[in-house]
């Protein structure tokens, strides 16, 4: 078919520009990360560079893990506002169960119970909204209220402002800990990439985000994959809770608060389209989580005054989204 061949050839010439055009968002997200990294290196050059590097890894670990899970539901165009409170309750439960049973076994049991709970919540989050015909944000709103209450009640029942896990879970050596975190992030990134790019889970969640009806008519069970997507997030939430616990060893009433919004900001900075669909990428999670952490770190190390930090962050956020999310043509985006 000579006709087809010619058209392919002509388009190959323009494919470089097409590539740049189609990947503007990703390229800019990476550029943002690169700039942050450069600023980080400039302001942290000195004896504490290694320390600061590990501090960034620590701070970014929880964000990365949660964001990796969140990609699965954001790719369907959903969001979960209950994430922070879920993490809070999971950490508290891990401590309570861990202390009750005692020893490393207690921690393991605590983690497993939490994992089961997280997966169950994911399933509820995904299934309820479909069965009851609710927007997914409503179920997550419900879970947010529920978990906020649960966190309050759990902490009240302990009678303490903060509770501590008796078993040490954090390696004593800083470098070991950093390596452990990098290991966990890398492992989850590999698992996440595998599931998002090479299995039905990722393909179907993206398809659901891009066009629910078309996905259904292509034989995708909305209930099943929505539930599995949320369960993937649940899994990550449990792991993230554990990582958070290794970091602090304690938990309180406000543990985890704000993560839902932070994760959303991370993903936006990573170039994730909030409406989901085929442009969703797993890399958004890592790029966004590290950009966000570095931004916060760089602002403090640069010595930006406390009351100006939020302002500068807001401006940078606006600049980044203006560069990445701008829709130049057509009607105003909604």
């Amino acid at each position: 078919m000579p006709e087809t061949v010619t058209s392919r050839r002509t388009d190959e010439r323009t494919s470089f520009f097409t590539f740049v055009k189609n990947h503007t968002m990703d390229l800019l997200a990476y550029a943002g990360l690169a700039v942050m990294l450069i600023l980080f290196l400039i302001f942290n050059s000195g004896p504490r560079l290694m320390y600061n590097f590990s501090a960034v890894v620590q701070a970014a670990a929880v964000y990365s893990i949660l964001a990796l899970g969140a990609v699965f539901i954001y790719s369907m165009g959903f969001m979960d506002v209950s994430l922070g409170q879920q993490v809070g309750v999971y950490v508290i439960l891990m401590i309570l169960i861990g202390n009750k049973i005692g020893g490393p076994a207690g921690v393991v049991v605590g983690f497993l119970v939490t994992l089961a709970l997280a997966l169950a919540c994911g399933a509820i989050n995904g299934a309820v909204s479909i069965f009851l015909g609710l927007p997914s944000i409503v179920t997550s709103l419900f879970l947010m209220f529920f978990f906020t209450g649960a966190q309050y009640l759990l902490m009240e029942s302990t009678g303490e402002n903060t509770i501590k896990l008796l078993q040490t879970v954090k390696p004593a050596d800083r470098n070991t800990y950093t390596l452990m975190l990098i290991g966990i992030i890398a492992l989850l990134a590999v698992i996440g990439t595998y599931f998002f790019n090479y299995t039905k889970l990722g393909k179907y969640t993206r398809a659901i985000g891009a066009n629910k009806v078309a996905a259904k008519q292509s034989g995708i069970s909305l209930v099943k994959w929505q539930v599995l997507g949320y369960m993937a997030l649940g899994f990550c939430a449990a792991v993230a809770s554990f990582v958070l616990l290794t970091r602090t060893g304690t938990a309180g009433k406000g543990t985890g608060s704000g993560y839902a919004m932070d994760i959303m900001i991370c993903l936006i900075l990573g170039g994730m389209p909030l409406k989901g669909g085929m442009k969703s990428k797993i890399s958004c999670a890592l790029v966004g989580a590290f950009t966000y952490t570095l931004l916060s770190n760089v602002l403090t190390t640069m010595g930006v005054p406390l009351n100006w930090v939020n302002f500068v962050k807001a401006c940078i956020f606006l600049v980044i989204v203006l560069l990445t999310c701008r829709k130049p043509n057509g009607v105003l985006p909604r």
Partner: protein, 331 residues
């Protein structure tokens, strides 16, 4: 629909809520102090009016944008920032009227700015408004020494719009503005068109940018009125980390319920009625000492869930109901 039926359906929710809370509190020993039942009383009226008025204003502001197809995250932040600015200026001037005027102007300016970022940036509305929310929140730390405004409500003469009967003025104004906007202005009608079919509206020749900014200004006026009540009732502290979205969300229940209740009449009445119902609900919880802490959150969550489920499944419920009555008839 007949008028009486309309009125009946509209008032059903708050009346049911009142009766339910009455029954529940009456059965609860915590609601008796020295043998006296505390649910019924003037405090109920005051609480319901003050809270409902505040909810109505915020909910109308949210609804005005939502109705036009835009979910504006920044309403809460605009309200807080407006409250701080208008409160401080009002405090220095010593006049509640100046506060009101400044608040309305400030609300308009802030909402117009949000609209400008949205239109000029051509960003998806959620992203644009999150960005603006972060910006407004950060400004709360930079203006008036970052102290927010804590002593405005303490002044009886200044805070008349936060108390009975002054609170009715901003509330009625907000309702009036909303009704005027949606029924008697070109902007409102065009907004409706755009909300229902954006592309067609633009093709027909509606200048979207103009409409968005005009709507934002109407919305801003309502935000200003909401801020006036807010600063007259509360201490306003600087906010960060999208916490203003949380403040806004705490008023969002009447919006959604109002959409539903309003089916029987119109949206403004629906929202007002829903706000009153929710205020009664909250007052009942307070009486039972469930107004704070864990249980309130859980009850609230269950309530929101049930309400949504009910409205989402209404058609099915009706169907089941009809089938049941039919079967009975056959039997």
């Amino acid at each position: 629909m007949k008028l009486t039926k309309k009125i009946f359906l509209t008032l059903l929710f708050p009346v049911l809520m009142f009766l339910a809370m009455w029954a529940i509190t009456a059965a609860n020993p915590a609601c008796y102090v020295n043998g006296k039942f505390i649910f019924l009383g003037f405090d109920l009226v005051r609480f319901v009016v003050l809270n409902a008025c505040q909810s109505i204003c915020v909910a109308l502001a949210i609804w005005m944008q939502l109705k036009n197809g835009r979910f504006d995250f920044s309403n809460g932040a605009a309200m807080i920032l407006t409250a701080i600015i208008a409160g401080n200026i009002g405090l220095r001037s010593g006049s509640p009227w100046i506060t009101l005027i400044v608040a309305v102007l400030c609300g308009i300016v802030l909402c117009a700015f949000t609209a400008a970022v949205y239109m000029l940036g051509r960003l998806p509305i959620v992203i644009a408004t999150i960005g603006v929310t972060l910006l407004y929140e950060s400004l709360t730390y930079l203006i008036f020494g970052g102290g927010g405004i804590s002593n405005f409500y303490q002044n009886d003469t200044l805070s008349i719009f936060g108390h009975l009967p002054g609170v009715f003025l901003p509330t009625l104004l907000a309702m009036g503005i909303f009704l005027f906007y949606s029924n008697y202005t070109v902007t409102g009608r065009k907004g409706k068109i755009l909300a229902n079919n954006q592309a067609a509206g633009v093709n027909i020749g509606i200048w979207e940018e103009a409409n968005v900014s005009q709507t934002a200004m109407f919305c801003g006026a309502i935000v200003g009125l909401a801020a006036t009540i807010y600063v007259s009732q509360n201490q306003v502290l600087p906010q960060s980390g999208l916490s203003t979205a949380g403040i806004m969300f705490s008023y969002i229940v009447p919006v959604y319920m109002g959409m539903f209740i309003g089916l029987a009449s119109n949206d403004v009445i629906g929202i007002s009625i829903a706000a009153i119902g929710m205020a009664i609900f909250n007052y009942g919880l307070n009486c039972m000492n469930l107004g704070g802490g864990g249980w309130q959150q859980i009850i609230m969550g269950v309530f929101v869930m049930c309400f949504y489920t009910f409205s989402a499944q209404l058609d099915n419920i009706k169907k089941v109901f009809r089938r049941m009555t039919k079967k009975e008839a056959v039997a």
